[in-house]
Structure formats: structure tokens, C-alpha cells
Symmetry: C2
Subunit: 181 residues, 2 copies
């Protein structure tokens, strides 16, 4: 952030009175511009013993598989966001189930919020952000071609919980990935 979105004047990093962190503060109109973490909302979509994955048609992670998920929008609830993302990415209608995972990803200032959901019919197809949408049985999950670590962790937990017959809400943190090599 270099300029004030309110008046267009340059901003500077300063700790406002009564605050403890540096913020972008406008030198002209005094507006304080706060920046806060974003929520990614999505779901594990179930149909019998299969789950729905989308192959990404956009960066980042073009060509890799993910559960339907994306940035929560203003004016919606967490599960409305998950329903919307599923419709956008997979043209699929779902009924949202219980909250299944909340992952903190502090190094990128994101919180992942994932629900379980039931697919309502088989009339799905790739949305504009997907190359392909498919139902996968556990043994066919493309583990080496998953787009995001929260998706991998969630699916690992999901199949373990399903085997145990006991779905448990998961709250966890994802540290930065280890450097390659």
C-alpha cells in the first residue's frame, strides 16, 4: 500500500496513538488503513463413498486438484461462501453439513474454514475456474497432484475419520512449507 484509498495522498507506516502495530496512515486525511487476515471457505463434497474434486484452470496451482474453496466475500456467511464456491467451481448443488476443519496459516495471513457437504445431484460440470470436476473414491485420490496443503491434510483426516466411523472437527496450524531440496 502506497497511497490512501480515501484521498489519494501518500501513506506512511506509523504506529497510531493507542495502537501497538505499524499501520498505513494517510499523511493528508489521517485515515488508518488496517490489513487483516482473509478467510478461505470451502467443503468436502460427498456422494456415497466418493468426494468431489476440481482440477484448477487458474493460477496458482493450475492443473492441480482441490476441494471447492475460495475467498469468503463480504455480506455472506462462511457456509454460504462454501456453497457459492462449489457452484462456481463445479456447477454443483450441495447441502452443507458440519464444520470439519479450521486451519490457521499465519505466514500468509489466511484461515481455512472447511465444511462437510452432501452433493444433491450428479449434474455437475467444470466452472470457469476448473478444467475438470470428478468424483473420486479414496483409492483414486490424486495425492501427488493436490493443489494446497490444507486440502491434503483435510482429506487425510477425512478418510482416517471415515474409517474410524467418527468425524472430528480439526483445529490446527499450517507452518510455512519446508524449503525444497
Amino acid at each position: 500500500m502506497k497511497f490512501c484509498s480515501n484521498c489519494g495522498a501518500p501513506v506512511a507506516l506509523k504506529i497510531p496513538a493507542g495502537d501497538s502495530l505499524p499501520r498505513h496512515v494517510c499523511g493528508a486525511c489521517g485515515t488508518i488503513h488496517y490489513q487483516n487476515p482473509k478467510m478461505v471457505v470451502g467443503c468436502i463434497v460427498e456422494w456415497e463413498d466418493r468426494i468431489l474434486l476440481c482440477k484448477r484452470a487458474i493460477e496458482p496451482r493450475y492443473g492441480l486438484w482441490t476441494v471447492p474453496a475460495g475467498f469468503m466475500e463480504n455480506g455472506e456467511t462462511t457456509y454460504q461462501g462454501a456453497v457459492r464456491e462449489t457452484l462456481e467451481e463445479a456447477n454443483a448443488r450441495i447441502e452443507i453439513g458440519p464444520l470439519y476443519a479450521l486451519y490457521n496459516i499465519p505466514h500468509i495471513s489466511q484461515v481455512y474454514i472447511l465444511f462437510r457437504a452432501q452433493l444433491l445431484d450428479l449434474d455437475f460440470s467444470p466452472g470457469i475456474e476448473s478444467l475438470e470436476v470428478r468424483l473420486f473414491e479414496e483409492q483414486d485420490i490424486p495425492w501427488d497432484e493436490l493443489a494446497f496443503r490444507p486440502v491434503r491434510f483435510t482429506l487425510q483426516n477425512y478418510f482416517a475419520d471415515r474409517k474410524a466411523g467418527n468425524f472430528q472437527f480439526r483445529l490446527g496450524d499450517l507452518p510455512p512449507p519446508a524449503p525444497a531440496g
Copy 2:
């Protein structure tokens, strides 16, 4: 938002290609400025059968009581945010417990995330944002002087759950308040 925070030129509301919602788009450098919901993180701080409340020294709701809570910051986890807010508002050290409530408040684009927590010692005092910090037994909770509806709902659930001997995670929505009169 009237000006681009990247280059200072005016922005206009437009639906970007491949998007479905209007965004503030810069007419000069093309930057798309997304706006997303914010998380408020906090906790119900327990000491034996009492809980800790803070009397607000800032607007909104100056002079009313709340649990320690505030906007989550970039670079922290949800429960680190709750610990930080408790330290800032009540100079109190806590151990975070289980997630207790997640409230969607779509009309103000906020999500409240509240944990239970244990107070570690009695050496607490008002932080700069608080007029007073006190431990309350259930019968002394100032129900008519609580600052925020999510706080009221959470405390009602909390004492009901405690009576029943079974704390349950709550996921819910808060609609806009009914108009006065």
C-alpha cells in the same frame, strides 16, 4: 474506496473478467482491490466459577462490558489473536482451551471466533482500551450492559452448557438487529 492504494489514481466499480462481483478496479494500473470479511477473535476467560469481563474505554459501546476480543491481525493464528486481545484489554495471561463459538455476521461482514480459556493468575488490570476488568459469577453478569450481541449469545450458551455439564461448539448466524421502537 476512491483511489488506488498502489498508484493513487481513481478507482471505479467494475466486474473484472472471469469474476461475478463488482470490485474497485484502478483505471490507471489495473489493480483489482478485493474487500473481504474480517475475523474478530476472543475468548471466555474462566477462573473457577467466574468469568472475566472488560468494561470498554473506547467506542463503539463505550462503558459497556465484553469478553476480551478484537480484530485478528495479519501473521497470527486465531488463538494467538485471542491471547493478544486478552493481554491488551485485561493485562491477563491465559491458556487457550477449545473453540467454543463461530458466529457469522454477514450484514457487517464479520466472523466472530471465540475460544474458552483459563486465566493463569489474578494479576490482571485494565488495559488502555478498558475502564475496568472484573471476574463475574453468573448471577452478577451485567446482562443489560453487554457491548455486543455475539457476547450476549455466547455467554447465554456458556452458562446453559455449564449447567448441563456439556460444552458444545456453536456455529450460528447473527441477523441485523431489529429496528428500535
